[in-house]
Every structure is written in C-alpha cells, then in structure tokens.
C-alpha cells in the first residue's frame, strides 16, 4: 500500500497511465459479462436512440448498443496493440542487437535496410500492403509489426554498441561464451529499460494506427466492433447522432493517453537523470 502511495506521489504520470491501462484491460477481459447487450444484436426498432438509462451511450444505425460495442472494441484495440508491438519489438531487438554486436558490413547492410524503410512513409506502406493482402485483424497486426520495427532496431543497436565495449562483456568474451549467450544473457538485459519504454509508447501508437486504418475501412471489418470502424460508421450520422462519433473517439484518446503517460512515467522511473531535469 505504501508502495502504491509512493508511486502516486513520485511518479504521477506512471500512476495515472497505469490506472487508465488497467481500466482498459478490465473492460476488455470482462466485456462478455458487463456488456448490457449483445454487441452485434441488431434491433431495428431501436435505431439511433440517443443516450438514455437503458442505452447509456445510445444505439447506432442498426439499433446496436454502443456501450456494448465499445467494451468489445476494447478487446480489439488491446489485442492489436499488444500483438503488433510484440512482433516489432522482437524484430527490432533481433536486427538491432545483431547489427550492433557484429558491426562492420552486417551493421552496414542492416542499417541501410532500416534507412530504406524509413524513406517510405509507414502509413502509405501499410495502406498499400493491406490493399493487396486484404484487411483483417490478423493482417493488421502482422503488417504493423513488420513495418514499424525500425526505431526499435536503431535504439537497440545504439545500446548494444555502448554495452559491448564494457568490461563485463569483454570478460564474458574472454571466457569463450558464445555470441548468442553474450547477447541474450549479458547485453540485452541491460538494454531492457529503454526497450520497455518504447514498447509501452508503441502500444499507444499501434492502437492509434489500427483505429486510423479501421476508420478508413482498411482495418477491422464490420460487423466486428472496433473503435475505429465505429467512428467510420458513425461519421455518416454526423448530423443526427453526435454520440456515435463522440464516445469511440474519447475511448481511443483516453487509451492512447494512458499508454503515453505510462511510457513517459517508466522513462522517468528508469532514467533518474531525466527525473532531475523534470523537477528543475
């Protein structure tokens, strides 16, 4: 309990971020029990009802309960965010540590590859690939994962470059340990902090990306509810149903804010230098 109080007092960003994220996780996990209605059940008699006691967030153009769809949408956002980030952290860490550790031409080739990827706007790249392979939840996760690893690779490469000259790594090398053992057991654990920060911030940006794609009709496909495609369907009723475009947007904003706060909070927690500069 005192620990929680301590976090609240000294790391308010982390505290509020984690609180928001925890709320989202609870919503996603308990959606099937707390959602008042079936998210896909169409009740044509109840079309476009404004928020009321029986439908807290109103109903959409098919008479579906917006609150229930929002709760189920949280699952999609969370799943896309977590899976996409896991994929790109994995690729980024792999590429970054190999490039940083082996240096020379391996580094040269891998980093030029990163440069090339960075030259094509990521959003355009994702749009193109999705247009060709077709939109689905799985495709979105994989494509975001495959196109967004460049920053992680650069970060990890930098960390590895700095760490590999340190005494404990030289000692490990002198002991004749294998490269993979040195990278996995001795170097990467020391580079974990910044990677965790980037991963946390990354979940937020993946959720933002997924909602943008779904909003354009290239993401999660209806009738599966996602906050992005709820906004897409809602924008046709901009004039007569404000609640359809308001609530999903608030949800996206709050969720992404939660991950950003948590990421920045973690950064403060792990890098005392930055903490000092904040208080200055």
């Amino acid at each position: 309990m005192t620990d929680l109080k301590g976090i609240f007092r000294h790391h308010p960003l982390l505290f509020w971020g984690a609180a928001i994220v925890a709320l989202l996780v609870v919503c996603a996990l308990t959606a099937q029990w707390v959602a008042p209605y079936d998210p896909d059940a169409q009740t044509l008699g109840d079309r476009l009802l404004p928020p009321s006691l029986s439908h807290w967030m109103g109903t959409d153009q098919y008479g579906r309960d917006v609150l229930s769809r929002m709760l189920y949408g949280a699952r999609i956002s969370l799943a896309v965010g977590l899976v996409a980030v896991s994929i790109y952290i994995l690729i980024g860490v792999l590429v970054g540590s190999v490039a940083g550790y082996y240096g020379r031409w391996v580094d040269g080739v891998l980093m030029r590859l990163v440069d090339v990827l960075l030259c094509i706007p990521t959003f355009f790249l994702i749009l193109m690939v999705i247009a060709f392979v077709g939109p689905s939840i799985l495709n979105i996760m994989v494509i975001i994962g495959l196109t967004s690893w460049t920053d992680v690779a650069r970060l990890v490469r930098g960390e590895v470059l700095a760490l590999k000259e340190r005494e404990f790594v030289l000692a490990a090398r002198l002991m004749g340990l294998s490269d993979s053992h040195i990278i996995l057991r001795h170097i990467l654990p020391n580079a974990l902090g910044p990677v965790l920060v980037v991963a946390t911030l990354g979940v937020g940006s993946c959720i933002l990306l997924e909602s943008s794609l779904s909003f354009l009709g290239l993401g999660v496909q209806p009738p599966t509810a996602s906050w992005g495609n709820m906004l897409m369907e809602g924008k046709d009723h901009l004039t007569d149903a404000w609640w359809l475009v308001t609530f999903p947007g608030v949800a996206i904003f709050t969720t992404v804010l939660g991950y950003n706060l948590m990421g920045e909070g973690l950064r403060d927690l792990m890098d005392p230098r930055m903490r000092g500069s904040r208080q200055g």
Partner: protein
Amino acid sequence: MRNFLLRRFLLMVPLMLGITVLSFGIMQLAPGDPATLDVAMNPRIDPSYLQKLRTSYGLDQPIPVQYWNWLKRVAVLDFGESYKDSRPVLTVIAERLPATLLLSGLSLVLLFLIAVPLGVAAAYYQGRFIDRFATLFTFVGYSMPSFWFALMLMLLLGVQWNLLPVSGMVSTDFDYLPWWRKAGDLASHLFLPLVVTTFGGLASVSRYARTSMLEVIRQDYIRTARASGLPERTVIFKHALRNALIPVVTLLGLSLPALIGGSFIIETLFAWPGMGRLGFEAVFSHNYPLLMGIGVISGLLTLVGNLLADIGYAWLDPRIRYD
C-alpha cells in the same frame, strides 16, 4: 564541406535503389497482373490473347528483368499511365500537387510560428506554469487521433453551428464568384483541414524545441554570458536561441515529404483534392502505376529532405562538417 556533400550524395544512391526495389517488390504482392486486369471485364477471353498481352507488357519475363526495364523508365521519371484515365502518372500527380502544397505549406508555417516559441518558453520557464501547460498539451497532442479531432471540429463548427464548410476545396459556384469572394470561399474551406494538420505536428515540434533549448541554456557559454553581465534578453535571444534553433531548422528539411505528400487521412476526410487523397484513391482502386509513382517520388523526397536537413545542420554548425 565539399567532401561532406560528396559523401552525403554518394550515400543516397544505394538508398534510392533500395526504395525502388521495395516499391517494386510490394507490387509483386498485388493479386493478378495488369494483363488480367485489362481483360477482367471480359469472361470469355481467349487464353492465347492473354498470353500475347502478357508478352506485350513484358510480364512473361523473369522478375529481375521486369525490374530492370521498369527501373530504366523510372530513371527518367516515366511511371507509365494511370489505370483510371490512361494519363501519365506524373501529370496526374502534378495536378494534385498545388492543393497539397497550399494546405501543408501554410500548416508548416503556422506550426513553426506556434510550436517554436511555445517550446522555447517552456524550456526557459522549466517547471513553471507555461512548461506544465506545454507538457500537458504535448500529451494531448500525441494521444489525439487526428481524424477524430477533425470529426469533432466538423460536428461543432460545421454541423452544430453551421459556420464552415466541411468538405472540398471550393464551393460549387466558385467559378462565378468575384475574386475576393473566391479568396474567402477558399479560406473558409481551408480553415478546418489547416487547424487539424497544424495541431497534429504541434506536440512533437514544440517538444523538440524545448529539449533543444534546455540543452543549450545549460551550456557553459551561456553561464559565461550571464556572468559577464549581459542583459537576460541578449543572453536568450542572441546567444541561446541561435544555437537552440539549429536542430529545429533541420526539422524543416525533414518535413519536406509531408509537405508534398500531404496527409492521407485528413485530405480524405475533408475531400481535399491533394496528393494524400490521390494516394488513398489509388490504393482503393488498385491503380498500380500511380501507387508505384507515389511511392518512389515520396521516397525520393524523403531522401532529399534528409539531405537538406544534413546540409542545413552542417552549414549552421561547423562542428559537424569535419567529422
């Protein structure tokens, strides 16, 4: 400086080749090929005709050969013809460029006029109200989905209060208006997309300016300037700001691709007839030559933007040149 430039230029060549390989490679993912697309409307097509079509397009050759042939044409900026209306890709792009330049150019100017003073002030008054406000603003800016922000503005200003048009670049009767009404009409259409585009960049640019300023005002030479009794105004505006702005200026170079490429989502949402919307339409209609044209050109622009940023940096900061 000359060696620096030369090295920087040579580095661009393999990157440019990489961009073309990537663009070409992605197109290989596309279902079907141009030949099947040509005859898609005709179910009773003769297979031998299809074969002839493939030969005439060069599609029967190995992929490396196809790439080489394509590359030879791209080298002279010939991206072929847009599927939609059989006009050269470059013409189609040139048509859409002014709308995007107008929107993103204005937004870039606004962005720097607002974000840089905000970031600098936040750094100078670190930890005080303005800094806290700027930090809060940064978090909001980073977390706000631009398309939702746009929707909310449309809902309030366009629909609820009916103040501004929410779609297109000009009204339907634009051609019949006198010039001053034309300007007003354009401005009213421009307003909402401009606000959304500018807002999207504020958070990162102001944060960048803040970090850069924070680094500079901690340097010894600033302390020396203060210690030698210079007025605070001179210290900040003459000594600190100059160096703090170097990294910010290079951001201008990095903004070049966005300046030309526009925003897919905002242009699509506001039906703004620019490059972003063109790209979006091309994706949806599987207009491959257009897509490859946009991909290669935006990659090239990013390279040029990076180059300009580096040159700007080297020009402003002599320490970089001699590395």
